[in-house]
């Protein structure tokens, strides 16, 4: 069975096999978000962030990008090897037109993986915040006017004596 990550075999793959890395990327993104959502006590929101030394690191974005880069690591390693080989190794044959096409196919596959990952990411975030109703940037943007109205009403209420709270 051909390795779908090898550039020189991409041209031999059918459309079904080419879709495997994309489906795998979407599966990783959804699976990660599902596991993170299951751990409700840790970070239930798709845009959760971790405070590291005063800097907020968006866990979802960071891990998502990390996961996609990990999926791209194998073809990148192949690219690095092909870049270094003619420079540090023995002379090799000149690149062929088929090789260039295979490289372009590999680059296009990487772009599609990133696009599918970003789309999955956005769809998952939209699902949790707009359909389920978890708080977050999207949910807040949609209901912002209503929340501001609640705050305005709360400001008109009398304060608890000495507490400064409504």
């Amino acid at each position: 069975m051909p390795n779908p990550w090898r550039a020189d075999t991409l041209g031999q793959l059918g459309e079904r096999e080419k879709g495997c890395p994309l489906a795998g990327t979407a599966l990783v993104a959804v699976g990660y978000q599902f596991l993170k959502t299951e751990s409700l006590f840790l970070s239930p929101w798709p845009d959760a962030a971790m405070d590291i030394g005063g800097t907020l690191l968006p866990l979802g974005v960071a891990s998502g990008v990390g996961g996609f880069l990990g999926l791209l690591l194998t073809p990148l390693a192949t690219g690095v090897r092909r870049f270094l080989k003619p420079r540090v190794g023995p002379p090799s044959r000149p690149p062929t037109a088929a090789g260039r096409i295979a490289s372009l196919r590999l680059a296009w596959l990487g772009v599609r993986i990133l696009l599918v990952g970003a789309g999955t990411w956005f769809a998952w975030t939209a699902f949790w915040q707009l359909y389920v109703g978890f708080p977050g940037s999207l949910n807040f943007y949609v209901h912002h006017a209503r929340f501001e109205e609640i705050v305005a009403q709360a400001k008109t209420m009398p304060l608890d004596p000495g507490s400064g709270k409504n």
């Binding site: 409700l40 006590f41 970070s43 239930p44 929101w45 845009d47 959760a48 962030a49 907020l56 389920v132 109703g133 978890f134 708080p135 977050g136 940037s137 949910n139 807040f140 209901h143 929340f147 609640i150 705050v151 709360a154 709270k165 409504n166």
Partner: protein, 59 residues
């Protein structure tokens, strides 16, 4: 300071927003990390100058 509860899932936690015109005061208590009125003592993401997403996973 105003707390708005948008999701109450019982033992699965409560979620919502906190509006605060000043800086939230940390308590040092891991179970109630911020001095916030209402049932959402854990602030998670700062959405803008006054708004935070908040939750309570202790129910």
């Amino acid at each position: 300071m105003v707390t708005i509860l948008t999701q109450d899932w019982g033992h699965a936690g409560s979620y919502g927003y906190v509006y605060d015109e000043s800086e939230p005061v940390a308590t040092g208590d891991p179970y109630f990390p911020f001095d916030v009125p209402g049932a959402l003592p854990s602030l998670e993401v700062r959405l803008n100058q006054h708004w935070w997403t908040a939750y309570n996973g202790l129910d």
